[in-house]
């Protein structure tokens, strides 16, 4: 009785996991999820499907597949769902069309070509084998045999000579030589070089084009910094007399390059030209604070201050301009204006 019980226990222990595994596999949903998961690449792994990967991302993928299966989507629809998000790369097997078809056909094609080449070669070798001259030792044996026939009087001397000559003619000491044309190797070399160059050039050029989507290029791009590009565009707009777009560009440029005093000075000047004195003063004061030696910023600041009636401070800024640039372009004008201010008082 005890033995029967023990047997039952053992049987139960063996059967339980088997039964649960069977139940797991029997669910058609899970079977489809597993089959689809095996076809989809785990994006954070190296050449692993989301079925085989233990990563959390793969778990999320499987959950999404299960959800789509339960929603009644077909296998093709589910594959298309992931292809739409990640591209065909997400499928572990290439599609059986376009360039992907070549990958599927190439092995069969190569196998066929290989078999054909092997068959032709074997046929040719066997045919040549039949025509091969006798091996030297066999030749010697045959010659001895002929000599022996002469010695025994079975052959006339004339026939003996004839036979000997015939046998010797088949000796492989003078194989037919055919020189390869001289241009063959240079031609092949040139063809290979041309192919290498033709392949590498576009591939190298493509690198730059791919940089946009590549995530792994951490090198800075060679292009002009965004803020400086905006600044230049702003100056061009000012030149063209389009103040409003210029202000927008200055504002962007300042956001990118908040440290450049000269940029702020130009922005402030443009604001003042647009009649927006208050924001102009803010920008110009910040420009002067960032670079107290920047004469242009003080020149603009003084002009705006005088315009809004802050004469003392305006005059102070302009006197600083004269200290900084006594010989500058604006110096004469500033001196005249300061003299006018003094006489007006």
């Amino acid at each position: 009785m005890k033995r029967v019980l023990a047997l039952l226990l053992v049987a139960g222990a063996v059967a339980a996991p088997l039964a649960s595994a069977a139940a797991h596999e029997q669910s058609p949903t899970e079977r489809r999820v597993a089959a689809l998961a095996a076809q989809i690449r785990c994006p954070v792994c190296q050449n692993l499907s989301v079925k085989d990967s233990p990563s959390e991302v793969a778990t999320s993928f499987r959950a999404r597949i299960r959800e789509l299966v339960r929603a009644g989507r077909s296998d093709a629809e589910i594959r298309a769902f992931f292809v739409a998000r990640y591209g065909e790369w997400i499928l572990l097997s290439p599609p059986k069309r376009g360039i992907g078809l070549a990958v599927w056909l190439a092995p069969a094609l190569l196998l066929g070509v290989g078999l054909a080449v092997a068959t032709i070669s074997i046929v040719r070798w066997t045919r040549r084998g039949r025509e091969l001259p006798p091996a030297p030792d066999r030749l010697d044996a045959e010659l001895e045999d002929i000599d022996a026939q002469l010695a025994e009087g079975e052959l006339e001397p004339g026939d003996h000579e004839l036979l000997r000559a015939r046998r010797l003619r088949r000796r492989p000491d003078a194989p037919l030589q055919r020189r390869a044309p001289r241009w063959r190797w240079p031609l092949a070399g040139a063809a290979v070089a041309a192919v290498v160059v033709a392949t590498l050039l576009p591939a190298l050029r493509q690198r730059g084009a791919n940089d946009f989507s590549s995530g792994n290029d951490f090198g800075a791009s060679q292009t002009m910094p965004a803020g400086i590009a905006e600044w230049r565009a702003a100056e061009a707009a000012v030149e063209a007399g389009r103040l409003k777009p210029a202000l927008e560009r200055y504002r962007l440029a300042v956001a990118f390059e908040p440290e450049i005093a000269a940029l702020r000075a130009r922005y402030g000047f443009a604001l003042a030209q647009a009649g927006r004195s208050r924001p102009a003063l803010t920008q110009l004061r910040r420009a002067v604070a960032a670079d107290p030696g920047l004469a242009d910023a003080r020149l603009y600041l003084g002009a705006v201050l005088l315009k809004v009636g802050q004469r003392d401070e305006g005059a102070r800024q302009w006197r600083r301009v004269l200290e900084l640039q006594p010989e500058g372009k604006a110096a004469a004008l500033v001196r005249r204006q300061l003299a006018d201010l003094r006489s007006a008082r």
Partner: protein
């Protein structure tokens, strides 16, 4: 078959193999196709770390920068100050959204603390249960940043850490 024909055939086969090899070997295998670019940004309806709902549709009208990150990702740690600085400068014209990738809310909060802010002080950082939004965006790994224009179309995508010039360039493109 004449020797000339044989040489031509040999060169053709060798050439074809070289083309295939050259094509395969000169390409960076880590460069992945960016399928999401120039398509409408996939919609999302997620909750911030503080439980506030945020939907993509509500953000439309402004350009949007969506940055996927995780506390366990060291490149994100280097990148995050840049994105936060960009938010300080352009937050009034561009909507910034962080999406926490394969990470817990607790760890995400810890990461933000490390960056010197609380979840409420910075732009919304959203939890993505089951990585649904990450899969919809075709995220390969973090950090990954999507640049969405005013019409809601993805105009740029960066896999890996963005640098200052890259970020500035993308922002300029969004604002133009």
């Amino acid at each position: 078959m004449t020797p000339f024909l044989r040489a031509v055939l040999g060169a053709t086969i060798a050439g074809a193999l070289l083309v295939a090899l050259g094509f395969g070997l000169t390409r960076d295998a880590r460069v992945l196709p960016a399928v999401s670019v120039s398509k409408p940004a996939p919609a999302f309806d997620l909750k911030t770390l503080d439980g506030e709902p945020v939907r993509l549709a509500e953000l439309k009208g402004k350009p949007i920068i969506v940055n996927f990150w995780a506390s366990w990702c060291s490149e994100c740690r280097k990148e995050h100050p840049l994105i936060m600085a960009a938010h300080d400068r352009f937050g009034d014209r561009i909507a910034f959204v962080g999406v926490v990738f394969q990470d817990s809310a607790k760890n995400a909060r810890g990461f933000l603390r490390e960056m010197g802010v609380t979840a409420a002080e910075t732009y919304p950082n959203l939890l993505d249960p089951g990585s649904r939004t990450a899969i919809d965006y075709g995220v390969y790994g973090v950090p990954e940043t999507f640049f969405i224009d005013r019409k809601g179309v993805v105009v740029g995508k960066r896999v890996g850490r963005v640098t200052g010039p890259i970020l500035d360039g993308e922002i300029l493109r969004l604002l133009r």
